[in-house]
């Protein structure tokens, strides 16, 4: 059997694939964060809570109305987006003129309140959420047993990441968005409703978190803590990719998922810090991140 660094090749391939699957979640979440930061300059600490909300929305839809995974994949992100839009309009938008720190503190507080409320109501052990029937079971790839659902997650995440990137970089709406953040007065003068654009952007970012939450629900326990475990890593991903760089966030998400997966094979104890070690190194060598523009 071929060995690489003492690990059999098939095992290594399996771990690479798993890293890629986890990277899919990192990419989806860091994408939403990067959109919000890139366009609104808000450091959205509530992102983990919005991800958790998405998972819980799917769970509640199933438990109380019998609405299954596929409709939830659309409805839950919309619910999260709507809630987030209300929050943005009534509260967050008042902080745009202040230092970034206020937005950070506000969203951090919001995350604590949301998570605390859900923990009070649902407990920490979380709720189970079944996989959709059609994706249950798995496929033997020869080097590993790939659960069909995880395969679906990878495909879905790539499609979503690409679509959002195209939306922002290549469409007229995306151009408005980018222009509105560059020079809001000028864009407003052209008759574009800038506050509405900003609300939509925040809702889009939050909706992406909600979507990731729905995708995560069948894999992880639907728990109030699921977001807080992830949010710090995702922030590191965004920092490494370069704050505000949407393409950077996506690519970095996948790459870090794979690096973390490899760490789990070679030195599992370090698997929860490897991302931060990389972040520190990147910040020293390229303070603007791998894909960010030098300031």
């Amino acid at each position: 059997m071929t060995m690489i660094f003492g690990i059999p090749l098939p095992a290594l391939l399996g771990q690479l694939l798993i890293g890629f699957i986890n990277g899919s979640f990192y990419a989806l979440l860091s994408l939403g964060l990067a959109v919000i930061f890139g366009l609104l300059r808000v450091i959205n600490f509530a992102h983990g809570a919005q991800y958790m909300l998405g998972a819980f929305a799917a769970y509640l839809l199933l438990a109380h109305t019998g609405i299954g995974f596929w409709p939830a994949l659309v409805i839950a992100p919309l619910v999260v987006a709507a809630i987030s839009a209300v929050i943005e309009r009534t509260m967050l938008s008042r902080l745009y003129d202040l230092d970034h720190l206020y937005g950070l503190l506000f969203t951090f507080g919001l995350a604590l309140i949301l998570e605390g409320t859900f923990r009070w109501y649902f407990g920490a052990a979380g709720q189970p959420y079944a996989q959709p029937q059609i994706l249950s079971g798995g496929t033997n790839l020869g080097f590993m047993f790939l659960p069909n659902y995880r395969g679906f997650v990878v495909v879905a995440s790539i499609v979503i990441c690409l679509s959002v990137w195209l939306l922002i970089e290549k469409t007229r709406l995306g151009a408005y968005l980018r222009a509105a953040t560059e020079n809001p007065q000028l864009v407003q003068a052209f008759g574009v409703n800038v506050p509405l654009l900003l609300t939509l952007t925040y809702a889009l970012g939050a909706g992406l978190a909600g979507l990731a939450g729905v995708l995560a629900a069948p894999i992880y326990q639907v728990s109030p803590l699921m977001g807080s475990n992830l949010i710090i890593i995702v922030f590191a991903v965004v920092v490494i990719g370069g704050m505000g760089s949407i393409g950077g966030a996506i690519v970095t998400g996948y790459v870090l998922g794979i690096l973390e997966g490899l760490t789990k094979v070679f030195y599992p104890e370090a698997s929860n810090i490897v991302v931060f070690v990389i972040m520190a190194v990147v910040l020293m060598l390229r303070p603007a991140g791998l894909f960010g523009k030098e300031i």
Binding site: A125, N229, P268
Partner: protein
Amino acid sequence: MRMDRILLAATVAAGVAVPAGAFAQEVSDDVVKIGILNDQSGVYADFGGKWSVAAAEMAAEDFGGSVLGKPVQIINADHQNKPDIASNIAREWYDTQQVDAIMELTTSSVALAVQGLSKEKGKIDIVTGAATTELTGKQCSPYGFHWAYDTHALAVGTGGALVKAGGDSWFFLTADYAFGYSLEEQTANFVKENGGEMLGEVRHPLASNDFSSFLLQAQSSGAKVIGLANAGLDTANAIKQASEFGIVQGGQKLAALLFTLAEVHGLGAEAAQGLNLTEGWYWDQSDENRDFAERFMKKTGRMPNMIQAGTYSAVLQYLKAVKAAGTDETKAVAAKLHEMPVEDLFAKNGKVQENGRMVYDMYLFQVKKPDEMKGDWDFYNEVLKVPGNEAFLSVDKSGCDVSSFAK
């Protein structure tokens, strides 16, 4: 405070047996204050959490709300599974809040830290939520007690059952801290003593979300049993993902070494069915238990597990000991705790060893299939009883140097 000391010294010096009750004034600061310190927001928040606080309050109420004519007060705090935070809270409680004893202490690293501090301060701690046998082993304290369960009991109960059923090769997924090591080591020893072998282990950080990488390593090891030496949300996620990767269907068995009713409920009967697990108490074992569980349900909206019922027992026993000692002075109460049998709804004929370990019978349970369940919390079938003297280490085997305890 000083007055109490003088009175006590006088009593001791006189060497006369004074009837209990005669020293009703022997309660420091006119209140008996018990601090429940545990994880209320992290991965173990369901394991004990604020529900343990509710159980402690029930014990205080059931005792009558006062002891030796002074009120009993329960306070609580969230230690976030961090030993440094826990030590700071404990120090503040002992130094400025007149707390007489700290209990629950989920998470072994935290329990060890707080027990060390309590020993230094000459205060009583009763651990119900942490697992490591170190608490009554090398790091034992003359004022430290371990209720409910420990890693040895889990190894003997769950590990023993699986070895007997032919699971003679093991691979461990181990939480990377004191508790995980202790649980892994003791289970591995037990497996080896019974003719089994160890094929490897992987240590994962606390609160890992994704276990697929570790599970894949366990899968390719070919071990018959995958031992989950972790707890709480970590174990629940590992079990859920193991079924996703076809591990159980592939013929490997999962041993959730520390899994309680709270996590089974969170995981759901579908994913948890057939799991073997060890607990010291189950709500549906007797009328007395059902009665307590019903009251608990009314107060909290959930059924208690062994941590919560154990906390009830620990608080109750502490108050009984204070009453019997006629004071809340640490040495006198500790002596009573060591001496008095534990006889309540949690433990029958329980004995506290010299090293502080409360010895009572544990049970091996198996989680029912969903169609066998009669109600929302009807999860367990009792498989067998593990007698206390087999479940827990004796004082000589514990590694605790009891001769070092100053009399």
